[in-house]
């Protein structure tokens, strides 16, 4: 592995070494999506990736029903989810029109609108793009 991989155990704080948390994940999920040459098609099922809502730079913002990040407390907007959305949750909700786990219809639609507005370079974009690839 080269220096660009985020694979080393992290961090020292106050003189103590803190090990990075890791999840092996569910048996039915997957941690690999493959793009084969001359066949721009994903093989695999579900990518265990995260989509923060909103991204860290706007972490205090709320999400409007249109998926825009607005000031906290704005009327008609929703507080962000307490944890990043999972690629699989987004894939399933978009594919079936169902709600995100733990959220009602309105809130789910707002969060999904946010995800669908993600631009290249925004945290979670690659995860969403991968999810989109798997839907086709």
């Amino acid at each position: 592995m080269d220096d660009n991989t985020p694979t080393s155990a992290d961090g020292e704080a106050n003189g103590t070494t803190r090990r990075r948390a890791l999840m092996l994940g569910a048996v039915g999920a997957a941690s690999v999506v493959s793009i084969r040459p001359a066949l721009a098609q994903a093989a695999g099922s579900v990518l265990m990736c995260d989509i923060p809502v909103p991204d860290a730079g706007r972490a205090r913002g709320y999400i409007s029903k249109d998926g825009e990040v607005v000031a906290a407390g704005t009327a008609g907007s929703f507080a962000p989810p307490t944890r990043p959305l999972k690629g699989e949750e987004v894939r399933r909700a978009l594919a079936s029109g169902s709600n995100l786990p733990g959220y009602d219809y309105e809130r789910s639609r707002a969060y999904l609108q946010y995800v669908q507005r993600l631009q290249r370079g925004t945290a979670g974009f690659t995860c969403f793009a991968s999810v989109q690839m798997l839907r086709k």
Partner: protein, 91 residues
Amino acid sequence: MSATRYRAPPADALLIRELDGLVALYHRPSGATHLLASPAPELLDLLAEGTMTRDELLARLVDRYEVADAAGDLLDARLSELIAVGLVSAT
């Protein structure tokens, strides 16, 4: 019967870049590109240090990371994915 041992490709067979919380990996021998989510990059990282059995890999993983769900069947599932796409070989 000896336990199955797992091996990662040599470092020069891979081109690796971090990409928005994921790891994009180009496997030169196959020409395939893979997007890896945790814990796949970490598993490849450990296996790059040498071949090991599932139990050895699990022990190394727990030693290096705070693994909330350290179970053999889950590690088997992750290894199976990596084997299926040719990033890990089992002997």
